[in-house]
Amino acid sequence: MLKQCEGSHAVAEAVALCRPEVICAYPISPQTHIVEGLGEMVKSGEIKNCEFINVESEFAAMSVAIGSSAAGARTYTATASQGLLFMAEAVYNASGLGLPIVMTVANRAIGAPINIWNDHTDSMSQRDCGWIQIFAETNQEALDLHIQAFKLAEELSLPVMVCMDGFILTHAYERVDMPTQAQVDAFLPPYVPRQSLDPDDPVSIGAMVGPEAFSEVRYLAHAKQLQALELIPRIAAEYKQIFGHEAGGLIRPYRMEGADTVVIALGSVLGTIKDTVDEMCDDGLKVGVLGITSFRPFPLAAIREAVKGAQRIVVLEKSLAVGIGGIVATNVRMATDGLPIKVRTVIAGLGGRAITKASLHRVIRQVMHDQIEPVHFLDLDIGIVNRVLERERQTRRTGPIAENILRDLGGVAPKLG
């Protein structure tokens, strides 16, 4: 059924359709509206046979999820930013124990300085935690991916992180096609755990493992992710069959045929990029777009196949591996290893900095003319940076950087664009 609603609301409804049994909630922007919605549905009885638990921290949220999932209950939670970092230890534990928890990450920057706006630093910080990480481009896809996530998680006995851009998607009102309960039930069977805590069949879970077997355990985690590379497209295909539209999969090529320049990105920014690329193609430029839906596992082969004809790649990423540059770009380079393709990293949209068509036009053209450095920062106000560096050269006690910058900017009024 078509409806116009907030992204968070769409996700909450989708999760509800998946018949979750335990939901742990802890407030943090911009994820809050999702669990608020679920809490309401549990209380109203709209979601039946479900425990909604208000925990005392994200660490507890993931820990409660570990307990309920280990005891065989379909479990969901959501977080963002600092919250994800605060639960990090439990995040690794959940995947280590092979618990099929589904978690929404409403992507948001990491402080300090504290910043509530969108970028991908939070989920990127957990890229090696053993969870499957899939990124949504639109609210429709966010909704679809959650339904797929439960199936994926439970088939593999692995937790899945559905990443959607904070505010940009979570708080955006747009049209979504909400599936029916019957459709979801047809797609998602009841959860049958691979292992669970049960007095009728007792086991010890989470024993210490020494050097003699640890490598094997870790390799198995890797092998599971490789299995996911085959399972994800299968599930996407099955999904299309039942729900009638495309969603999920590993990658999303757009106008790639004959493109000599390919822009690679994750999440909602793909929309703006596609609009930009359309205009460039209208100007006769050979530019294509490759969206990555599955970041973990990282679809090396699929990407290699998709870009093999290109001459250059621009990886636009909303996170920074401080001290080296791109995270996604580094991964993409692995995919293009040995191919005559130039890969450029463009760091953009940090802490909610708007990514505009204008800026994209400029930077993509610069790349096409080899006019930018391998790691480029989109719309960076180099003047401010230099002022800070200069200040630091001159005096020892310069005070806090962030505040100085705001002073240089003159006030904290909302900046458009």
Partner: protein
Amino acid sequence: MDQQVKFYQTGTFTVGNRLLAPEQRAVQADMARTNSLNSGHRACQGCGEALGARYAIDAAMRACDNQLIAVNATGCLEVFSTPYPETSWQIPWIHSLFGNTAAVATGIAAAMRVKGRKNVRVIAQGGDGGTTDIGFGCLSGMFERNDDVLYICYDNEAYMNTGVQRSSATPPAARTATTMPLGPEPGNVFGQGKNVPRIAMAHGIPYVATATVADLRDLEHKVTKAMSIRGARYIHIFVPCPLGWGAASHDTIKLARLAHETGMFPVYEAEHGEVTGVSKIRRRVPVEDYLKLQRRYAHLFGKKPAVETIARIQAMADLNIRKYGLLEEGAN
């Protein structure tokens, strides 16, 4: 019958008592006890925690007809009970992290509720570090929500698994790897530490109790009582650690007994935040008798004894005795 036997019988305080009716005997006296924590574990000789865990879990198993799931914090108990590729547990058991035990238990209890298996009960267990320090947040949250979990803390007064470092349960003057007997105030300083049983009581949860491995019947009584109640429950069990305390492996129970009989560790139970019963001291002893058996207090004795420090420790014990009324009427 019980009373009469308690008054008469040789060995009233022993584990078993051949003159009691079978149903009145201790779980540990039962030939068919579950041995929830089975032989072959890697605990040190004379480990008080291994003992306390089997006491508590066996009693809980009997109380819930073996429909039990246990969660374990990181620590000695977890490490020595599940050395790959073996486990000593005879019950469904999970170890997740050091600091999240109470929360994991909450999750399991929730899962059992939605699955309509109300008969399955959940126990969370950890050492003093995992409980009073790193796991404290989750513990408090579990209490505050009154989740249907029995949390058991095995208190050996330091981080033993990592090599005897101070925890918020380490007593004053005690030597640990991070509170060396050096400087003007050797060992752990006075005026620190956290009384978690009292904090648990402050949450107003249905049941809180302390116990030691020296009085099995009392311990089993409390576990059984806790298991008969729904909601958040907390039992704090005093378990001496021969290794960490520098004591003889055969003195484990003796030390626990002395901790109670000196007043160093008050044994009581509380319901909804109010103390409802205390275990009286049978043979009061001065704290020296307790301290002298442990090398972690060796610096208090030696050539010139730290009379003042010992007096301060005695004062703490005396305060407990006054505060909890640990002496029988007329006892000295």
